[in-house]
Point group: C2
Chain length 304, copies 2
């Protein structure tokens, strides 16, 4: 057996070290240089068996996902992640090295170092992350700023994660399955796309974590608008139902008054152009896809 402090030290060595003037893992709290402008704070946890089936994806994937879903929340504000805190509650026989190897990959991918956290035993694996982000002096993009007439964009086709989970359950190994399985195992937070949308004057933004339909309903409710969608881009190998209700794609949905600014901003950043999928309406009771009403669907935990 290994003591907690030895385990923490072993895991610390898998992660980047602090620059001069900052203190990270090893004291009661971390000391970091605060961003100029607004400070963004987000926290999400992932639970084994709830947010991931560890018989289908690896512990490294789970570690990657834990940070990615948090960085995605910062991206959905148009911000940039700067520091993460990672707290793990896990059964004593958990392979923490594999978990942290995926976490470390995400730390590198997002340039978002882990500066502190906690480690405890528990009966079920829970990885709880909090992320600090910066957004500079201008306000971030909230959910509540969409205006009637604004164009609704999504940063990419949807449904890949849900299709990947289905492919894993069916043990498919064809090429089409590989792409969606990768999307399920290693969701990518769209930090650059969020910054480009904000730079283009996006009026509201949210990440697709619960499913396009549910997340767009959140945005519409917060903004007091309705929406009419012309079409929904579906990832190759996924179904429309997976695109609307699957969630966990972590593409960004945003609204903007001036589509020309959006095109220019994404081009300037060297990013794939976002896809216009519809527009906001002044009637907050209108939720339409094509000819049909689009009900709010998507994953929710249920409470007594």
């Amino acid at each position: 057996m290994t003591g907690e402090f030895e385990a923490i030290e072993r895991l610390r060595r898998m992660l980047p070290s602090p620059p001069a003037g900052e203190t990270w893992i090893g004291d009661d709290a971390a000391l970091v240089v605060p961003p100029t402008g607004g400070l963004l704070l987000a926290a999400d946890l992932v639970v084994a068996g709830v947010h991931a089936d560890l018989s289908l994806v690896g512990l490294d994937d789970f570690g990657w996902k834990a940070l990615s879903v948090n960085v995605s929340d910062i991206a959905a504000m148009g911000g940039c992640p700067t520091h993460a805190l990672v707290s793990v509650a896990a059964p004593p026989d958990t392979d923490l090295e594999t978990l942290y190897s995926g976490l470390a990959e995400a730390v590198a991918a997002y340039s978002c170092p882990v500066v502190g956290g906690d480690l405890s035993t528990a009966s079920q694996l829970v990885v709880s992350v909090a992320v600090v982000g910066e957004c500079g002096p201008r306000p971030p993009v909230l959910r509540s700023g969409a205006l009637p007439g604004d164009t609704i964009f999504v940063t990419g086709p949807l449904g890949a994660s849900a299709a990947g989970l289905a492919a894993l359950r069916e043990a498919r190994v064809d090429d089409a399955a590989t792409a969606v399985i990768d999307a399920h195992r290693r969701p990518v937070a769209r930090v650059k796309e969020g910054k480009a949308a904000r730079a283009a004057g996006a009026s509201a933004m949210v990440d697709v974590s619960d499913g396009l339909s549910a997340d767009l309903h959140h945005l519409a409710a917060a903004s007091g608008v309705g929406f009419v969608l012309d079409h929904v881009p579906v990832f190759e190998g996924a179904t429309l139902q997976q695109a609307l209700g699957g969630g966990e794609d972590y593409e960004l949905v945003f609204t903007a008054t001036n589509p020309g600014h959006v095109a220019a901003s994404f081009a300037e950043a060297g990013l794939r152009q976002p896809i216009a999928i519809g527009r906001c309406t002044s009637d907050p009771g209108v939720f339409v896809l094509g000819e049909s009403e689009l009900p709010r669907v998507g994953w929710q935990h249920q409470w007594a």
Copy 2:
């Protein structure tokens, strides 16, 4: 059953609302005004059955404790908590209102609002908190600054929490039991004491979470010093063993070169004087209490 979003909204109403210019619960991330000077970040989680026996203490106590242990980490840097993120993984039949009522009491006690977080189902209750704190332009008090000859102080007698747990297990109801049971149920983070110690020029500081012996060994190892303790103040109704190894008292242990400054700083803040318990030595292998060696004891999670 209640959906996740309805549950979150119900819990949000139990907590304070943001001032103008800040966005808290309800968007992808919270937007807050960053502190001037250093930004302190800490995260700790509490697991039902590991950090608390819910057959002996209430869910409200558990909610109180989850925030208090985090605020204590900020206090141990000489900082002041400003914002908290609270993520809860819990069985679906968990009484979240009672949990959040204790959390809300702690929010009020420490003036540390909850600005975001997450809520998920799980098989075991885990409350994971991250706290942001400020420390102004001067550096916070790390564990690593103790010097040979520094006096070692503790902000109060120790062992109350462990004695309280023992009293609860024995179902004692006498007056002495009430005081230690209160200390176990509602540990208090010493924010004012931490600020007073820092103002007095404390060279190193740590909170007593794992037990005086273990935490003092952490401080000594980080600072490269040894220590000689003359005595350890034991809370009335507790044993010396509980004071040394029990942990969870959340008193602060700190070192200072000038005891006169410490006395003046605590007096000026209207605080009970801290107790001098010994001094740091230049030999990092010396750990002495009275005539005996003081081994490193205290709680550690164990890993495969």
